[in-house]
Assembly symmetry: C2
Homo-oligomer: 455 residues x 2
């Protein structure tokens, strides 16, 4: 009897609804506020930016939301995604722990991002919207939305952080291959971009600036809306298909995780994996420890403040209560571009405050060392973002080796590194540095938080 | 009832043996010859280059070869690979044809190459070999062997064609991440490399030169052997797992292909897909048309000569009877690096002469146009090599649209383009040219064939 390497659900067993963790919380998360009035934003405030269906999902308290048939049809291009048992890594570590990873790199763009890009494109198309705008850093989110827009016949325009646009052209080409128009940000096409360029003509941009540009463009075009790849409730909702599938796959495996660990940037991968496990925990059907791992260079959970702040640099978004390093904080250029965001999903921030999960920060060189060990045993080269989770898994598995504990560890391998290989090149060449966040920098950036709001 | 998008075998149903088409041929393929004596090469001649097990597989006439358990264990990291029904592409084309593709891009390196890299590394390790040398062009084969060597604890040294080494660093970094040492070819480490550099100090290299370097290094080190990623019988043998799985998946689908079409460079992807279908055809259990598609810039089947020729530029390999453009032919720098080989698998060349399949050549701009249409409907961006097969599929599907025929078409999507995106960038920017092979160039290169051998 050969032991299984991976657990794959039949297409017919793919979950048909997303899970909304808010339905199971005793204390609801604080609402987003209008920056002018300080009042909670209503559906009307969001209408210029999002279609009605997504605004409803953003505020719904229903426990489940049905996945439209048209979305399931596209999901089936790569879903259900495999759950792997990392037998070769376990052997290499000599650990009694059992390590599982849910692999989202099988999507056409190589990450978990299409799980939400596809429904976002679908709902916009269904409401007659012709075009989506968005921001992207290294381009994981941008390429996911580009793919999704191609499948539903939407135009797509992406503002990509200038540093990535110039240095990592592969994802830009991927977006263009799907038919999306890509602008470097800051650009001269928007007020927000021109304002930055006036002050810093050589600006290499940031996610916060790119968000400002994409939001501005969508707000002024009645046929366009804006799409965000993380942070918001509806985005995390869509990603719960990851955890729902994983639960079914653990049933196939006849096993139960003791520890569920994922990397956090804006929080969509982590929320997607862990919310269904949190539901099981709240219902008393399971009791896993849940842990978030963030980069030491951008540690919003472990060193940020829980306060109302803007989601972007120019202050165009509503104020959201979240763990933040300050909306004009620009993280050092670590290679995990997807984790370089000043804030954290308000929903996840709320759950963290409520004590539903723990968090740790890891330096990037430790992450890449873990990524290489993973690649040489499991074959897949993890994207820089999930190397954070992989490093935490390996650390835990080695702890188990000392204690002899046969702990069951689950992580989300949310993407592969095919388009991020220069980061591994820098590590192998000894050119990578650790960028732990400086106390003074953090103090300055937190001092710029919007004063006297909500707290 | 939802129609299936993909057909996935259970791990337990993965084929456990490779198929050797030679067992079913009335006329055996002509043997390789020793260039000095003109006599067939024996196992002893090959011993400095290959382990015993692979030499036996190269000449075996057994119909099936069992896949070792250790190889199956590694295969399970990504196999069985999915068979897709291209429903979205069919809809986009408006064709009554049913298009299926067997997708090998799910392997850790994104192509079919690990199907043979893994057993090659395994057999070498089992016979106590410490190191493998190889050549690679764009790096698909090199990264597959690097991955395989990492899984079996072998050292690996790869000579990469200088043009790719300089211009496309991603695959080099991938090889290094797996622990392989990569040299640009021509290099000063070998006689063959030094000879080329003496004459052409700025040489950007070719696959033929890189093969000479890797063979030379293996031959002079008793602990090292050489590994080749295509062309040879044992390589095609290992790839038959593609077609064997596809046959089982067609059973799941309750369908039968009328046309099986694959791209050909050295022939391993094409042989791997088609040999099991050819077996069914020879046994009277099926009757598909089988078709090879090659680049118009390197058309060994449609415009080459069937003659004894060297596999490399320096003439270090045995002479093999094959369709060839001449061993010092250097193809124009088309983007399908994996199809830029002067020769064709001797086994496939023999089968072509025997009339078992047909061939066509396509220009690269038509291929990339097809690749983009595929990406925008199916999500996956095909590697430059399989865009040739995709172009032929689309052509056929549009023919069916005219005739109303509901033909069943199967192709092998042997890899994704994540590491070849600059090729799409060049196409989208209008910078791509078609490089049809010039008659005079071909005449000159064929005039350099080794005279008076075997024909």
């Amino acid at each position: 009897m050969v032991e299984r390497t991976k657990y794959i659900l039949d297409e017919a067993d793919m979950p048909t609804r997303w899970y909304n963790v808010i339905a199971d919380l005793d204390v609801p998360p604080p609402p987003p506020l209008h920056p002018g009035t300080g009042e909670p934003v209503g559906p009307d405030d969001l209408a210029p930016l999002f279609p009605q269906a997504l605004i409803e999902q953003e505020v719904t308290t229903e426990r489940y939301v049905d996945i439209p048939a048209e979305v399931l049809e596209v999901y089936r291009l790569w879903r259900p995604s495999p759950l792997y048992r990392a037998r070769r890594l376990e052997k290499a570590l000599g650990t009694p722990a059992r390590i599982y990873y849910k692999y989202e790199g099988v999507s056409p763009v190589g990450s978990h991002k299409p799980n939400t890009a596809v429904p976002q494109a679908y709902y916009n198309a269904a409401e007659g919207i012709a075009k989506l705008t968005t921001e992207t850093g290294a381009g994981q989110w941008g390429s996911a939305l580009a793919f999704a827009c191609a499948t539903f016949g939407l135009e797509c325009e992406a503002w990509q952080v200038r540093a990535s646009y110039d240095q990592k052209p592969y994802r830009k080409i991927m977006m263009e291959t799907y038919g999306t128009t890509v602008h470097p940000s800051p650009s001269k096409l928007t007020e927000a971009g021109r304002a930055v360029l006036a002050e810093h003509p050589d600006s290499t941009g940031s996610l916060g600036i790119a968000i400002s540009e994409a939001v501005e463009m969508a707000a002024q075009d009645p046929n366009a809306r804006y799409a965000l790849g993380s942070v918001l409730n509806h985005v995390l909702l869509h990603q719960t298909i990851i955890g729902e599938e994983a639960l079914k796959q653990f049933e196939m495996a006849g096993d139960t995780p003791d520890l569920v660990v994922g990397c956090t940037g804006g929080g969509s991968n982590f929320g997607g994996l862990t919310f269904p496990f949190l539901r099981e925990k709240l219902a008393g059907r399971a009791n896993p420890v849940i842990r978030a791992v963030e980069p030491a260079a951008c540690p919003s959970l472990t060193r940020g403040t829980y306060a109302y702040d803007f989601g972007d640099t120019a202050g165009l978004t509503p104020l959201m209560k979240m763990h933040t390093l300050g909306h004009d904080f620009i993280p050092d250029p670590i290679h995990a571009g997807g984790l370089r965001y000043h804030g954290m999903s308000p929903l996840l921030s709320h759950l963290y405050e409520q004590g539903f999960y723990e968090a740790q920060a890891i330096n990037q060189r430790d992450c890449f060392a873990a990524g290489i060990q993973f690649a040489r045993s499991e074959g897949i080269i993890p994207a820089p973002e999930p190397t954070h989770a992989v490093a935490a898994c390996i650390e835990e598995a080695l702890r188990c080796k000392e204690t002899g504990e046969d702990k069951v560890i689950l992580t989300a391998l949310c993407g592969h590194a095919n388009l991020d290989l220069p980061a591994y090149g820098a590590y192998l060449a000894g050119e990578m540095v650790d960028n732990e966040l400086d106390d003074d920098v953090l103090r300055t950036s937190l001092a710029a938080l919007p004063a006297g709001v909500g707290s």
